[in-house]
């Protein structure tokens, strides 16, 4: 079962490489994405036993990330059928192969308990996404690709030295040398605190870079701004969650050591800093895709703060993996449509999107309302859980900074989004052949419905999954 999850997308990548027709490739992509989701759901209901040696183990944390990645990937794949039809000027072979390789590596990150293997898979997702950011083949996109590739590669390399420190700590402690999560947690008490402390610093910086926590977020606005909408959706709704899962693994380990307080405080500081940075740069942002990138910086900040707070907030962080991932899908896919229609992503040109594109404009507006944490959408539940947990724990300052940032971000984002969707279409606005159709509007609409349903009702199996996952992240007595 584990093998199928990894190998199937790779077979898909090989098949799309063989196909000579641009029209057919996105359909094959969707077919494999559908099969991937089917296997995922099967594995979620009938959890396969841990593989020999404990290398592969699908626990509740992995399940949540795998589920959200697989759902988002399928919707993006279906969207690509309609979207790539408008990008016929260039071959879509590289983008389809890159997406499937990334899906395979992403699945590997979620199912493995070997930290070294997880690192390899995580770096593979970074590299496989690089050609996709360069899809537009212009000076701006090459700049974005360069920054993304270099900063993320260096970041993930720093995480590797962190893992090496952990492995050396096991050797020094004369326990069985290993990078298996379960072994490390079992022996955590015996590990030398000097090495473990150094390891946590490097791991936090490394995975924090990949996740885009401030001040390590500088690649994010460029990469998200220049990548096509569907790649942006997968970066901000998929890859971010994988990096967060890596941090969750480190957190699991930190819980078993004396370093947990240090690790939690570092997460809170970086998280709040991310939110403040996002609030500052969100204001008067004239490029709506860059605005979404800062929104992503904000939301990884929210997840980091929640993890740092611990207790009930962890549940919020885990639910936010799903809520943020799906809502980002709505926003990036609909913004891709608006970008196609106006042939511009500057708010100077894009006005009156609701008139020109009632569906895409409406979805973008609804996505904005959802992502800023307004009821009745899913991000409201997670953000409310986190804030109330901060105040219940008596950490007033954290709660206050959190709330103030959210408010400023809401205002800043509204100042960009509302003029975009409301009002009249400028007379000199460029017109393109893009029209809203079921192929490009359906996928984000489905995602929005999910975000809406999750906001008012969490199905019992999902609730059980979230509780199981939160139990893995509780402080052991």
């Amino acid at each position: 079962m584990f093998a199928a999850l990894i190998i199937l997308p790779l077979i898909g990548a090989f098949v799309t490489w063989l196909i000579p027709y641009d029209r057919l490739r996105p359909k094959v992509l969707s077919l494999f994405a559908f099969a991937h989701l089917a296997i995922t759901i099967h594995m979620l209901t009938f959890t396969p036993p841990e593989s020999a040696g404990g290398w592969f183990h699908l626990d509740a944390l992995g399940k949540i990330v795998l589920l959200s990645t697989s759902i988002l990937f399928l919707t993006c794949a279906i969207y690509s059928i309609g979207y790539l039809f408008y990008r016929r000027e260039r071959s879509n072979r590289v983008i389809c192969i890159g997406l499937l390789v990334c899906l395979s590596a992403a699945s590997l990150v979620t199912i493995t308990h070997h930290l070294g293997l997880m690192w390899v898979a995580l770096e593979t997702t970074t590299i496989s996404m690089a050609p996709l950011i360069y899809f537009n083949r212009n000076a701006r996109s090459i700049e974005a690709t360069w920054k993304y590739l270099l900063i993320c590669s260096v970041g993930v390399a720093l995480a590797l030295i962190g893992l090496y420190f952990l492995a050396y700590a096991t050797i020094v402690a004369k326990v069985e040398p290993s990078l298996l999560l379960d072994d490390l947690i079992r022996d955590a008490g015996k590990l030398s605190s000097g090495w473990v402390h150094a390891a946590f610093v490097f791991l936090l910086v490394g995975f924090g870079t990949k996740m885009g926590l401030a001040p390590l977020h500088t690649w994010k606005p460029d990469a998200y701004g220049e990548a096509p909408g569907l790649v942006g959706a997968l970066l901000s709704g998929g890859l971010v969650n994988l990096a967060f899962l890596a941090l969750l693994r480190v957190y699991q380990l930190a819980l078993a050591t004396k370093e947990i307080a240090f690790f939690q405080n570092a997460l809170i500081v970086m998280g709040l800093f991310s939110m403040v940075i996002a609030a500052i740069f969100m204001a008067r942002q004239a490029d709506f895709k860059r605005m979404l990138a800062y929104s992503s910086v904000e939301h990884v900040g929210i997840m980091a703060v929640a993890l740092g707070l611990g207790g009930k907030a962890v549940f919020g962080a885990l639910f936010h993996i799903l809520a943020n991932g799906l809502t980002k899908g709505v926003l990036f896919l609909s913004s891709g449509n608006i970008h196609r229609s106006y042939n511009s992503k500057s708010t100077d040109h894009v006005r009156g999107a609701l008139r020109r594109l009632p569906w895409s404009g409406g979805l973008f507006l609804a996505g904005f309302i959802a992502i800023t944490g307004s009821p009745p959408f899913a991000p409201f539940i997670s953000e409310f859980t986190i804030i109330s947990s901060a105040f219940i724990q008596g950490r007033m300052l954290i709660g206050a900074i959190f709330l103030i940032s959210l408010t400023i971000i809401f205002i800043g984002m509204a100042l960009t989004v509302l003029p975009m969707v409301m009002g009249e279409v400028p007379a000199d606005s460029e017109t393109t052949s893009y029209r809203d159709s079921i192929g490009t509007v359906g996928p984000p609409l489905v995602l929005l419905l999910m975000v809406f349903v999750l906001g008012i009702w969490i199905p019992a199996p999902l609730m059980a999954l979230l509780s199981d996952a939160a139990a893995l992240l509780e402080v052991h007595p």
């Binding site: 590299i127 700049e143 360069w146 020094v172 990078l179 150094a198 701004g225």
Partner: protein, 213 residues
């Protein structure tokens, strides 16, 4: 064997300073290639003989000593540039900083508990010093090629630390990490070609159209 390994590590440290101090890109690439070959020899000196070890040695020397330098060399030739001119921070200050970082890494390594049999080795300080050197090159140089060289030196530093962990790191993970490095450099090489085509230069400080106003 231990003394030989330590002498080779001193050589690695010297190469760090060469790559910090030179402005000629081809020379820089070659010195990092030599560093790669040394890293390939090191596992053979500290671990007992096995065929698995021979395979690792060959693969590392091939990848770090030949394939990657070849990729970078081709990128330099096709971009027709020879020198790193006007780095963000001059060569002398970076050399001095490199010396400071090297000293600091010896201090850092001294404070961490080591296995008795590793006590007299220079692996940990050499690893951290090389890592810091790579980071320094990455942040102070303007040319895309120099930044890739910095990334390589940084990876070499991580690799030196990995030598202490032969038992803990399964071969699959080692191989995966090396493959990721190779593919990463390959993709970076392609991007470099595109940069030189688009901007007629490899100067990454020209990559500023995405700055916030």
């Amino acid at each position: 064997m231990i003394t030989l390994a330590d002498q080779l590590l001193v050589l690695v440290l010297l190469i760090n300073f060469i790559s910090l101090g030179t402005s000629r890109l081809i020379f820089s690439i070659r010195s990092v290639a030599v560093q790669g070959v040394i890293l390939g020899i090191l596992p053979g000196l500290i671990h007992p003989f096995s065929w698995h070890l021979v395979a690792i040695t060959i693969v590392i020397i091939a990848v770090k000593g030949f394939v990657i330098p070849q990729l970078l060399g081709r990128a330099v030739r096709s971009a027709e540039i020879k020198r790193e001119v006007e780095p963000f921070l001059g060569f002398v200050p970076t050399l001095l900083l490199g010396a400071v970082f090297t000293a600091l890494s010896f201090g850092f390594a001294g404070r961490l508990p080591m296995l008795p049999e590793h006590q007299n080795y220079m692996f940990v300080p050499a690893s951290i010093a090389t890592l810091m050197t790579g980071f320094l090159i990455l942040t102070t140089r303007r040319k895309a090629i120099s930044q890739v060289i910095g990334y390589l030196v940084l990876e070499n530093g991580i690799f030196i630390f990995g030598l202490l962990l032969a038992e803990a790191m399964p071969i699959m993970v080692e191989a995966g990490a090396l493959l990721d490095l190779l593919v990463g450099i390959f993709v970076m090489g392609i991007v470099i070609n595109q940069i030189s085509r688009e901007f007629s230069s490899l100067d990454t400080s020209l990559l500023t159209s995405l700055k916030e106003e």
